[in-house]
Symmetry: C2
Subunit: 148 residues, 2 copies
């Protein structure tokens, strides 16, 4: 197919996080490029973060690899080891099953943009590093298994 | 893991194409970011094309989705429908099993750079659009099955 027309795709900022965990991602605007293009094996999500917005709660995946490519602006990557500034062209990879939670926060005054790719078993779920939450094929729960 | 240190990764321009199909990709320099980072579900290949170089012979995959993100410079995307110029930030997606061959050629005077992502069943093989070649789990062959 020809190149994707991103301007023709309406971004959306919905989240299924239970409150109050939904608040930091209100300024996250996504275009699900992979699904729009008919991909079924490869996830590709174009993300624009407004100043102050988070990409997600800090998390890691049990069954999915992830890869982020920074396209525009500047963001801060948060992992167990600390913080790293990301600028256009920077790449970060997270192998499935590695228990090192990560997210990206826009602490600047301008928007920033990246694409996040994923592949593997999404239903295997994963864990959040800083809050009492995990997810499985059945949805979000406390770490003791009690549903939200 | 922290962001990938691309400068520390030696690019390579090897190809397993039989001659003369190997000639157009001599100026293609790859860094296999996904494998280097320990990913097993998601392929991520950073590619720099010298002027004149091709990304590959024009092809499509039976079992793998592909997604290209342009990072620097300019390239020409070739598909059944014709040609499209790609510039930084441009994205192209190819769903598995869609018989529309594609490749990217650097027709400019400067290097260009992109990352190509893939996921799915690599062993399902695929087909080349403009030459008498296909590939399977057993390697390259003529379209009638005779090996190269």
């Amino acid at each position: 197919m020809p190149k994707l027309d991103l301007d023709a795709m309406m971004p959306e900022n919905s989240t299924s996080y239970p409150p109050p965990f939904d608040q930091p991602v209100q300024g996250r605007w996504k275009r699900r490029l992979g699904a729009i293009a008919g991909l079924t094996e490869l996830g590709a999500c174009h993300v624009m973060l407004k100043p102050g917005a988070w990409s997600s709660q800090r998390h890691w995946h049990e069954g999915e690899d992830e890869f982020l490519v920074m396209l525009a602006g500047e963001a801060v990557l948060i992992e167990d080891e600390g913080e790293t500034i990301l600028r256009p062209g920077d790449c970060v990879a997270w192998a499935k099953g590695v228990a090192n939670g990560h997210n990206v926060i826009n602490r600047g005054a301008a928007d920033c943009t990246f694409i996040c790719f994923s592949a593997g078993d999404a239903k295997a779920g994963g864990f959040y590093s800083d809050i009492d939450m995990k997810w499985t094929a059945d949805g979000y729960s406390h770490k003791d298994g009690t549903p939200y």
